[in-house]
């Protein structure tokens, strides 16, 4: 492999192979789906699934950076999505009417991403200095706290500005005023401006960020800190700083995914982003393979589509979904198949 020359050789050498495969997969899927969409050959079911699928992809890519590359268990990815989702919806709601939809979507995603990164940074400060599974415990609690806070948050907007409160649920609003987040009812009446192209660009963006990070000096430091903390510290790597980098980027991607998700539905309640959603994203990452981003892409798409493809089974679809999950776990961990796969890979090389 290393002897090959030219662009193809560059793309397929070991260092670049996985990212070449990732970009190709995403681009091919996008082109194929766009053609189907434009020619009207995509069913309504799949058309509706495109944007949420890209949201989960971005969140899962972010989580894999944190869980797979940095080796810290994060059980609050949905909480970060919630922060991004509700801040993105607010941004879009405030700018509605003055900024065109495309620019508004970009701004909403950027602001959702930055805010979530900041929240992640605040949580990371005390936690990432500790050893052990503390991040898992804190992120688990964080997810639940965020969900409960948003359930009690009221945000309204009118010509005089933004009003928000945790206590008062009724604001006196001026002409044209509306509620952006309405406590337990969540965000209602959101203008749906998310689209598949934006989702795909976000997935590519997430992949670019993640691949460039892990093949950089900082990325090597993150992996060194994961593999042997003492050895990494001995050569002068700041463990807390490297782990913080992975954690904040992971949170930021979740925030961006959340903003896109929030702007794809006219209603969104905070309880959507509960513990179960965090675990769901973690399942995508774990079944795809820790630290393996191609695996994350494939596992997320398959596992996201599975419950919808099983709709034909009527009442039994969630049961069958669980059984299929167990089967995938058994098969991917089967020693016999793994050695077979490894020997196949060797032969090819």
């Amino acid at each position: 492999m290393e002897n090959k020359k030219g662009i193809l050789g560059y793309l397929l050498n070991n260092r670049h192979r996985s990212r070449t495969i990732s970009y190709t997969m995403v681009a091919a899927a996008y082109i194929l789906l766009e053609i189907l969409l434009k020619t009207g050959n995509l069913s309504n079911l799949f058309t509706g699934l495109l944007v949420p699928a890209t949201c989960y992809l971005v969140a899962a890519i972010g989580l894999n950076l944190n869980v797979g590359v940095s080796g810290e268990l994060n059980l609050g990815q949905a909480g970060f999505m919630a922060v991004g989702a509700f801040s993105g919806v607010c941004v879009s709601g405030v700018l509605a009417g003055t900024v065109p939809p495309v620019l508004r979507l970009i701004l909403a995603i950027i602001i959702g991403m930055l805010l979530t990164a900041f929240v992640g940074f605040l949580i990371g400060i005390p936690v990432l200095k500790l050893q052990g599974d503390y991040l898992a415990i804190v992120t688990l609690a964080f997810g639940q706290i965020v969900m409960n806070l948003i359930m009690n948050l009221y945000v309204a907007f009118d010509s005089t500005g933004i009003k928000f409160s945790f206590v008062e649920s009724k604001f006196t609003l001026g002409e044209g005023g509306k509620y952006l987040i309405n406590g337990p009812m969540g965000a209602t009446g959101t203008e749906r401006i998310a689209n598949f192209t934006a989702g795909t660009i976000l997935v590519i963006f997430a992949l670019v960020v993640v691949y460039n990070l892990i093949y950089s000096r900082s990325g090597r430091a993150i992996m060194a800190a994961r593999d042997n903390r003492i050895a990494a510290e001995s050569i002068g790597i700041n463990i807390a700083k490297t782990k913080m980098m992975a954690f904040v980027i992971s949170a930021a991607l979740a925030g961006a995914a959340g903003a896109l998700y929030g702007l794809n539905y006219s209603t969104m309640v905070a309880s959507k982003f509960d513990y179960n959603t965090s675990i769901l994203i973690l399942v995508y990452v774990v079944l795809g393979g820790l630290g393996n981003f191609n695996g994350t892409l494939i596992a997320t798409v398959i596992l996201f589509l599975l419950p919808q493809l099983l709709r034909g089974l009527q009442d039994y679809r969630m049961l069958i979904y669980a059984v299929v999950l167990i089967l995938i776990m058994l098969i991917t961990n089967n020693e016999f198949l793994r050695t077979k796969a490894a020997s196949l890979r060797k032969k090819k090389a």
Binding site: L49, M268, R311, Q314
Partner: protein, 423 residues
């Protein structure tokens, strides 16, 4: 090698389990309790809905396809299943009459906005022409704009929040125009309760409210109750809240008692209400209890001493042990389908939805070969002009925004039965 063998056995076992469960499923559905919707259609039958979805034009005698989604799995499944069973039943009855023919496709949405949007796509693929929208409010608010975009007529049996029919639910402006409600909207229940209490001062004058503040249903009713109570000059002495699956209400009850409340308004579902009644009884606190339609079902709570519910007032559109023939047959047939379960108001609303659709379709002469937009326009015209008599009320009418007008019935529980209370 042993590990491989073990894994193989595990895989085989789970596959067998799945297969046998699926077999159970088909067995029980032929029994009639949870039959898949498509198999009941007289003409499409086995071919499935998707086959002729692409070309709805042509056959005027084909059944009109009705879509709908609701939580068939998850914590809210009891509501979705009630609607599904009642709707299937009504479709069969309508078809048996020989006039307008319906075919029902009902999808699971797990009481989740994302799933409801997905279910909407599935229904559209299945060739839906008229819809029951969704069973619960939050998912409904997510799909209502989709129904408007595609100009498909929808009437929800039980999506009671104003955000179901208005783009801006808070201010009740921007009605979708083609999404209708069969149930009372939450605000109507709240103001209706306040008006009734104000007209009957013998129930109590110092009011305490305990509501679930993370539930749009409960909070929506409370907000309008409070507003109407203000205009009627009622005195609310205590407002207590709870969240999630809480089951200890001693703090709220003690505070209500300390505030001297003699009437307890509970705009909540029957499970927490039954716990409140039990705990109030243990404390020796005996205010008059006033509930809304979510209280319906309290007599069926397992392990609950129903004698505690004696004298409870509730405002509800449907009473399962009413004496009229329509209700009697409905309850009897429903029980036969749902393993003896007594239908709740969700079931009754769904049953009424199908009959109202049938009435409108007959009157407007709607056939399956019409486009969705044409059907929608005709249905909206019918619904805004017709009067409908059903299980959940007589002389129901709808305004152009999609809101229903029907008289809420105040009931009181006496000797374990609902009895109409003084008007």
């Amino acid at each position: 090698m042993r590990k491989i063998w073990k894994a193989t056995v595990a895989v085989a076992m789970s596959a067998f389990m799945a297969a046998s469960l699926a077999a159970c499923g088909s067995g029980s559905s032929s029994g009639g309790s949870a039959a898949p919707a498509q198999s009941e259609t007289p003409s499409t039958g086995e071919t499935g809905a998707a086959a002729d979805a692409a070309a709805p034009a042509g056959d005027a005698a084909a059944p009109i396809k009705i879509g709908g989604s609701g939580p068939l799995t998850g914590p809210a499944a009891v509501y979705g299943n009630a609607v599904k069973i009642a709707a299937e039943m009504a479709v069969e009855e309508v078809n048996a009459k020989g006039g307008v023919q319906f075919a029902l496709q009902f999808e699971d949405d797990k009481h989740d906005a994302e799933e409801a949007a997905t279910a909407y796509g599935t229904l559209k693929d299945g060739g839906m022409q008229i819809s029951l929208a969704t069973v619960t409010s939050a998912p409904d608010a997510a799909v209502s704009p989709l129904y408007q975009e595609d100009q498909t007529f929808a009437i929800t049996p039980s999506g009671s929040s104003p955000s179901v029919i208005y783009a801006d639910g808070e201010n009740q402006t921007g009605a979708y125009g083609n999404v209708f409600q069969m149930c009372f909207s939450d605000p109507n229940q709240g103001s209706g309760s306040a008006t009734y209490i104000a007209a009957h001062p013998d129930l109590g004058t110092k009011i305490a409210v305990i509501y679930k503040n993370d539930d749009p249903y409960s909070k929506g009713i409370f907000d309008t109750f409070k507003a109407q109570a203000g205009t009627e000059g009622l005195e609310i002495v205590y407002e207590g809240t709870f969240k999630g699956e809480e089951s200890d209400f001693n703090v709220q009850l003690a505070d209500a008692q300390a505030a001297g409340a003699d009437l307890l308004f509970l705009p909540i579902y029957y499970t927490p209400a039954s716990q409140i009644l039990t705990q109030a009884n243990t404390m020796g606190y005996k205010p008059t209890i006033f509930g809304v339609d979510g209280m319906d079902g309290i007599l069926g709570v397992e392990g609950f001493d129903t004698s505690l519910a004696e004298g409870v007032y509730l405002l509800t559109p449907f009473v399962a042990n009413a004496e009229d023939d329509l209700t009697k047959t409905f309850v009897e047939n429903y029980k036969a389908r749902a393993n003896g379960e007594v239908p709740n108001q969700f079931a009754a609303d769904a049953y009424d939805c199908i009959y109202a659709m049938a009435q409108a379709c007959e009157a407007a002469g709607i056939t399956a070969d019409m486009s969705n937009a044409d059907i929608c326009a005709a249905m909206v015209e019918q619904f805004t002009s017709m009067t409908f008599n059903g299980l959940t009320g007589e002389n129901m009418t709808w305004n152009a925004n999609g809101e229903v007008t029907k008289a809420p019935k105040a009931m009181i529980i006496e000797n374990g039965e609902y009895v109409p209370a003084a008007e």
